[in-house]
């Protein structure tokens, strides 16, 4: 079992003819993902690596039964691409693009609330159900099939924790990078709820970072609604206030000091979630749960 993606997921790649889109389409197919279509305006009728390209996502969804979209579209056009995916409709849209203007994302977010589609990202590495499908840019070879769910705001930190788990023989049900932007679709709480409902997920690793209040909300959710044990990690303990640490969303606000690592660690601690000082300690906690 898994959440959101599996063997039956049929993927349309928006932006399949671009450099990134083409490279990662090959990688996704090599992993075994059913990439059934591409969507690029004006490129309908072409093929990329044997995958038929359509002018619109709607055509791709209709003609090829696509039910999920992965978006590799440049930042200036990416919000429009997400809206197109929501309107097609597909069940899941995964936006890899980094650097989408915030106001564009605010408009997407307003539509998302009324939509049945789950959006992962933007500015994320995507989602993988090991052995079944990956939608995004995660390196498939570090993952293994197993019973731990993983959710993270950061791509490479996800890889680090997954590697710590896989090296010990602990595999994953599904791993999701939810993205490093201030405004994202699926958040920690949404993902944790999916993992809680998945009978095969026996434990969850959650990697947060400074900025915003998402981890605090997740901690409250875990305390009130979860039986599945969760172990946490929070990046950015040494980040100074007022400085953006790479991710657009990773910033501790100046005067009031909201979004600090201390506040998030405290909230998780209060919810009974052990927080590792190192990624390897997160794997220790997960191992102790199993």
């Amino acid at each position: 079992m898994s959440i959101l993606v599996d063997d039956d997921t049929r993927v349309v790649v928006q932006g399949i003819t671009g450099g990134e889109g083409q490279f990662h389409t090959e990688q996704m197919m090599a992993y075994g993902t059913n990439v059934v279509a591409g969507a690029v305006p004006g490129r309908g009728g072409q093929e990329v690596d044997g995958v038929p390209v359509y002018d619109t996502v709607e055509q791709a969804a209709r003609e090829e039964d696509a039910n999920a979209s992965v978006i590799f579209v440049p930042p200036a056009f990416a919000a429009d691409a997400v809206l197109e995916a929501l309107d097609s409709p597909v069940d899941l849209a995964v936006a890899i693009t980094e650097g989408i203007p915030q106001q564009d994302m605010a408009k997407v977010y307003a539509r998302l609330e009324a939509s049945d589609t789950d959006l992962i990202g933007p500015n994320c590495p995507g989602i993988i159900t090991p052995g079944e499908a990956k939608l995004g840019i995660l390196p498939g070879n570090i993952f293994a099939e197993g019973d731990v769910g993983l959710v993270s705001r950061s791509g490479t930190l996800t890889y680090q924790v997954v590697d710590n788990l896989t090296q010990r023989g602990i595999g994953q049900t599904t791993a999701i990078g939810i993205g490093g932007d201030p405004i994202i679709g699926t958040d920690f709480v949404d993902t944790l709820a999916y993992f809680e409902d998945d009978p095969d997920t026996k434990a969850v690793a959650m990697c947060g970072e400074i900025g915003g209040q998402d981890e605090e909300e997740a901690a409250a959710f875990i305390g009130d609604h979860m039986d599945t044990p969760v172990a946490g990690f929070i990046a950015g303990r040494t980040a100074p206030p007022g400085k953006r640490m790479g991710h657009a969303g990773a910033i501790v606000s100046g005067g009031g000091g909201t979004g600090t690592a201390e506040s998030k660690i405290q909230a998780l601690d209060d919810a009974g979630v052990p927080v590792g000082d190192t990624p390897n300690e997160v794997a220790d906690h997960i191992e102790s749960f199993l």
Binding site: P75, P101, L157
Partner: protein
């Protein structure tokens, strides 16, 4: 991107917001001439981007030419919280009876903009938000339709603004929102909005932060971006297109991906060291970018050792190894010890290429950081 006060006020004035008459000056004579022209009293305000300028001595209210000369001489060239002051804004002083707050920001959790008004203006609004959150009236805005006039009025009345000036303050708020939306701001605030004895409303300060990711369609604002004042290394990082933050420690840190680089900083602290910087080379970096990153960290005189931590997804270990070799090939003697940890995509290929005579290789993130911290201790 954060606009200077004088730039934000220019944008405000163009949008029809009431701002005091002002002139920018970079010499004492220019400042005095500006003050004479505007008429006393005037405020002489340091144009640096830090909070609490007034308390730090960066704002002086002056009544005469002599006072204007003294104030400009004192403020120009001063060091204000680590930033050099090279310009002042000379501005007509407002005789106020009340100070309000008005602003628009993004509520990240709700994914929508929020407009705010408070009668507790003129003080640190984050402190007000923390201590007395009810003193700030908030209105969430549908980004597709914008802030409606009735919503602005509702916010103003809810905040308890006097009825005599409420309409004018509501108009300030809708104009601020429109600016926020049209100019891709992430934050826009006026603190204080001053109310005069005659019942006029004046935007006495102006803060405007613009979304870096939207500068491609805000060419007028992008042109206002000035070289980062103060730190040469941060300016250089900007030029190379790195996400870089300079810190005060002595362990240089280079990695890929924001979360993993932050984690590496935290681990340096965990093992008893102090991080010198945050440097994210980004995804898919080629050899040249890696070389530039090492050059930058070597250029920081505080750095005693460097930890290079890569977990490759779209970044390839062989490209990273090539870049490290090229960076180190420039030196007869390696200036500071470098610890390298490569994992993920093409890590094995990278390890074959990497010149291990010049660097220390570690298998894990933890051992790499620990080794780099040890090297700094060895130097003392």
């Amino acid at each position: 991107m954060k606009l200077h006060e004088y730039q934000a006020k220019g944008v405000f004035a163009d949008a029809g917001l009431p701002v005091p008459e002002s002139r920018l000056a970079s010499t004492v004579d220019e400042a005095v001439a500006a003050a004479d022209e505007i008429g006393y009293p005037v405020a002489v305000k340091a144009q640096v981007q830090v909070g609490g300028r007034g308390k730090a001595g960066g704002i002086e209210l002056v009544e005469s030419e002599t006072e204007a000369r003294d104030a400009a001489a004192a403020i120009l060239g001063m060091d204000l919280k680590g930033l050099h002051v090279d310009r002042v804004l000379v501005e007509s002083a407002v005789d106020f009876v009340d100070e309000l707050y008005a602003g628009v920001t993004m509520d990240r959790a709700k994914g929508d903009p929020v407009a705010m008004v408070s009668t507790e203006g003129g003080v640190d609004i984050e402190a007000v938000a923390a201590e007395n959150p009810d003193a700030i009236a908030r209105e969430h805005v549908d980004p597709d339709s914008g802030l409606q006039p009735y919503q602005a009025r509702r916010t103003v009345f809810e905040a308890g603004v006097d009825r005599e000036v409420a309409t004018d303050v509501a108009r300030v708020l809708t104009t601020l929102y429109d600016l926020w939306a049209e100019r891709d701001a992430t934050e826009i605030e006026v603190n204080p909005v001053m109310v005069t004895a005659d019942g006029d409303v004046v935007c006495a300060d102006a803060v405007m932060n613009v979304d870096d990711d939207a500068l491609f369609r805000q060419s007028e604002l992008a042109a206002m971006e000035e070289e980062a004042a103060g730190d040469d290394l941060e300016a250089k990082a900007n030029e190379y297109g790195f996400d870089y933050v300079r810190l005060s420690g002595n362990v240089g840190i280079i990695g890929n991906g924001a979360g993993l680089v932050m984690t590496t900083l935290d681990l340096v602290d965990h093992f008893g060291g102090t991080p010198a910087n945050f440097l994210d080379i980004g995804g898919g970096a080629k050899a040249e970018r890696v070389t530039n990153a090492l050059d930058m960290v070597f250029a920081d005189e505080n750095v005693d050792s460097v930890v290079f931590n890569i977990f490759g997804g779209i970044t390839r270990g062989d490209e990273v190894a090539k870049g490290i070799n090229e960076a180190l090939a420039q030196f007869d003697e390696i200036p500071k010890p470098v610890v390298v940890r490569l994992a993920g995509t093409n890590a094995t290929e990278g390890m074959e290429i990497l010149n291990t005579d010049l660097v220390t290789v570690e298998e894990t993130l933890e051992s790499a950081v620990e080794r780099a911290v040890e090297y700094t201790e060895g130097d003392r």
